[in-house]
């Protein structure tokens, strides 16, 4: 059996009678008991991100009686968040996520000291913020921040409870435990930007961050209690569609640049650069494709001019809304380009104009001279031409 990762904690605080009653279901279990509950109260957990993963895990950690909960976020609540970010409610739309989350957590458990950090976690502030916590729970949504959280945890000796999601799949592990592997041992390098779609682009089953976030909360509580077998050196893969859980062995990479015996990363670096995000912007600039604005398209359609509309979304998106035209999903364009007439003016569109820009770039290379991208896609059309068009 793996040894529980150990946490050094401040002296055990006293529980009030109200707290003893509140936590009675914990106290009667030998694995928690009075000592465990006091450990929970003494524990300080930092949740990076108050979104999909952050919502369920912060709620459960607060309910469980974690004494100090830090929240890092800089976003405001948007209606599209509510499908999964259960810490926020409909009335919170437009509010800062930190305000909404902190209010909810204090409502769940007034004994929790909720500390908010209204900022993006950066190389300049991460060590300072992480320093006052015992465990960091990573609920972020991008590669630069994931490497930043990892390195900050390794450099400060904090445990990193990792969770990540995509569509129906999730990954969970505990990094940066003593003698355990870190995120860089698992993935020494990030994928090039644009290769892995984000939840905003690829979608995510709303329940999945609940499943994965609650597993992260479970690991955090186990680490605090020093009970059970934490996911140190193991990567848990969650496939919600098949409802299959698989476990892979994670080894500490002896060549790891941050947690190995000969580290080359000894302070926080520029993670945007490391992940090539800056390079991507420059590339996007260079690869800019000819565009048409929604107003211009509307005028041409109304005037009866020859315009061939090419919808490059996925077939299931057509049921939501659209501008009509010929459907060829982006991924099928290379093998179905022959369906298109290169002598006609073509306007490619998608939801936001991102995928159709790629389609236009491909078709231009393939010799289509008259193809243009609908700037802003259906979202721009809904905003500026047809207010009755739903946005998604």
């Amino acid at each position: 059996m793996a040894k529980p990762a150990t946490l050094s904690m401040p002296p055990e605080p006293i529980l009030s009678n109200e707290e003893i009653l509140r936590y009675s279901r914990h106290l009667i279990m030998p694995e928690v008991g009075m000592e465990g509950q006091q450990r929970l109260k003494a524990a300080r957990v930092l949740c990076v991100g108050a979104g999909g993963l952050g919502s369920p895990l912060a709620l459960y950690l607060a309910a469980a009686g974690v004494g100090t909960l830090g929240l890092v976020d800089f976003d405001v609540v948007d209606v599209t968040n509510l499908q999964r970010q259960i810490i926020h409610s409909t009335a919170d739309i437009g509010r800062k996520k930190l305000d909404s989350a902190a209010e909810r957590l204090r409502g769940v458990n007034p004994h929790v000291d909720v500390r908010t950090f209204e900022t993006r976690l950066t190389s300049d502030n991460a060590l300072q913020i992480v320093r006052d916590f015992d465990i960091v729970v990573d609920g972020t949504d991008n590669f630069p921040t994931r490497y930043l959280v990892n390195d900050a945890c390794v450099l400060t000796g904090k445990l990193n409870v990792y969770g990540s999601i995509f569509r129906f799949e999730g990954q969970v592990s505990v990094f940066a435990a003593k003698d355990g592997p870190c995120y860089r041992c698992l993935y020494p390098e990030p994928p090039p930007p644009g290769l892995v779609p984000s939840c905003a682009e690829g979608g995510v089953l709303g329940i999945l961050p609940g499943l994965v976030g609650v597993m992260q909360a479970t690991e955090a509580v186990k680490l605090i209690l020093g009970r059970g077998e934490p996911l140190v050196g193991r990567l848990l893969l969650v496939d919600a569609l098949g409802m299959r859980f698989r476990e892979l062995k994670l080894r500490k990479n002896p060549e790891c640049p941050v947690c190995g015996p000969r580290p080359t990363i000894t302070r926080l670096v520029d993670y945007e650069e490391f992940c090539g995000v800056r390079g991507e912007e420059a590339q996007a600039e260079a690869g800019r494709v000819p565009e048409i604005q929604v107003e211009e398209l509307k005028r041409r359609l109304d005037a009866g001019e020859d315009v061939f509309l090419l919808d490059v979304r996925e077939p299931h998106e057509v049921a939501i809304c659209g501008l009509g035209g010929h459907l060829i999903p982006l991924g099928d364009i290379p093998k179905r380009a022959h369906e298109l007439d290169s002598s006609r003016p073509i306007v490619a569109y998608c939801r936001s104009g991102m995928r159709s820009a790629k389609a236009v770039a491909f078709l231009r290379q393939a010799g289509f001279r008259k193809v243009r991208n609908l700037a802003g896609g259906i979202l721009a059309w809904a905003d500026r031409i047809d207010r009755s068009m739903p946005k998604y």
Partner: protein, 90 residues
């Protein structure tokens, strides 16, 4: 042997979640896979034909980097998993 395809790569693998290929080594299984689904190649291999560093390949529950990498022998009934990095969380 069975190769498990993760969600982000399924669009390039005929939308399949698992694909059976005959193979004697990890490298052979992956070659068969990209022969069958050429769109997968750029997601798995870099310019020099080496497996990309952000794509982890596991034989059953073991990272092939800690076995014999692509030369690792495989047998019928083994499962190969491609585990790419994902970052979603909001």
């Amino acid at each position: 042997m069975t190769v498990h395809i993760p969600t982000p790569l399924r669009p390039y693998a005929g939308k399949e979640a698992a694909i059976d290929v005959p193979a004697a080594t990890v490298g052979e299984a992956l070659s068969r896979l990209v022969e069958r689904h050429p769109d997968l190649r750029r997601h798995l291999y870099g310019e020099e034909g080496k497996l990309r560093s952000f794509v982890n390949v596991y034989l059953n529950d073991e990272d092939v980097r800690y076995l014999q990498r692509e030369a690792t022998p495989v047998k019928e009934g083994d499962a190969l998993s491609i585990v790419p990095s994902i970052a979603g969380g909001r």
